[in-house]
Symmetry: C2
DNA sequence: AGGGCTGTGTGACTAATATCACGCTTTACC
DNA sequence: GGTAAAGCGTGATATTAGTCACACAGCCCT
């Protein structure tokens, strides 16, 4: 990690903060499909995504995984920040969707930098707010809407991150939404009839909007 | 608001911070049933509950209200904190369940105090984490469990805050859970048969555990 | 080319929840 | 005391989502 790429990733920080990050942060590579963070794992560092795409899940007692939101380049895992103060364990599951590079900042610097650097403070607060909002939107989706709307909302989130051509199976979608394959297949079929998308084997092409 | 009651409400702060709070904070009284914060309202201050109990809701486009969590004495509205940095509007609806006293801290002090007072920083971060966790638990409840479990979880949260004798109607519960009165009535009946509670008019008495 | 695996399509059935319709009780109020 | 409103109980029915069973198609492998 060099200064230039860091400035591009996290623009507007103080010079000194960039140096601090370069000095104390460490870079970690994670292959597509691997788990970055398990539920119950102790959090020792704040993680910022440098490249790649990460999916965050909530897990139930049977290991079922419910998709919450994405993190991509320049975004930080809020939970890893909140946990910062007191070596807490993770409440969520994070999986790399693509090959991913992660920048880890040991916890002790979280506190220091919060008071030292105005821009770091802004960054953390903004991260919180954005994650918080995503959680609220997720709650809206499951509390107020039915499966077809949730599927649409889900697909729109995916294409926003990964492009119109989604490489995903019906089963995977069903898992993310805590539904079943048949239900998803049928709903996708309906959407295809409405020309919102076309279904291929192992992938979906989004046409709508 | 005097120093002593403030120390009791928010223990462990620096002397100077208490003075700052007394100097810059203002106290507001809200009657039971009144709305503290509407969706879309601009947030001008961070709010901390001094006495009373507040219920926070998420609202859908038709005005249906979905209960998320409570705030009680000593707790702060996280959203009012996250919004602090840049005069944002509220994403949630807050209603006073009982007569409530609220301590308002104008936004400009949020930033100042975050870097100036270690304990204020801790307080804010801890608030975030707790609210974040509550949101995750709410997601668990609606994503993974069925109505009877959600109702149980809901009732347990209420008695934790308001005691075993809940003054609430079936209709109100149904609104909070985005369900319908009949469903809630039937489920409550079942719980009564299992001796988990007794149903009275306008109230429920929790027996379980 | 044939066999097996994975992904998808579909009908029939079940379960959970929502909605409708109505009656009955308690409380509030004139 | 009478009446209206609010709260609750309950059966019938509708809708949505999940489950089961099975067929079939595409792909990989030898």
């Amino acid at each position: 990690m060099n200064l230039q790429s860091l400035q591009q990733l996290l623009p507007g920080f103080e010079e000194e903060l960039y140096n601090d990050i370069l000095l104390h942060g460490s870079v970690r590579e994670v292959k597509a499909g691997e788990t970055l963070l398990k539920v119950g794992q102790t959090i020792r560092a704040t993680m910022i995504i440098v490249t790649g795409l990460v999916k965050l899940y909530r897990e139930d007692e049977n290991g079922k995984e419910f998709f919450i939101y994405h993190l991509d380049a320049g975004q930080a895992c809020s939970l890893s920040m909140v946990c910062a103060t007191r070596h807490e364990t993770s409440e969520i599951l994070a999986k790399a969707l693509t090959d991913t590079t992660v920048l880890s900042i040991p916890l002790e610097f979280m506190d220091k930098w919060m008071s030292k650097y105005k821009t770091w403070y802004q960054f953390v607060i903004t991260s919180y707010r954005n994650r918080f909002e995503e959680l609220l939107k997720t709650i809206d989706a499951i509390a107020f809407t039915s499966m077809d709307e949730r599927l649409q909302y889900y697909l729109e989130k995916q294409i926003e991150k990964s492009g119109r051509h989604l490489k995903i199976t019906h089963q995977e979608i069903a898992n993310d939404l805590n539904s079943s394959r048949e239900v998803i297949s049928r709903l996708l079929k309906k959407m295809e009839n409405n020309h919102w998308l076309t279904i291929h084997r192992n992938s979906i092409e989004w046409l709508k909007k």
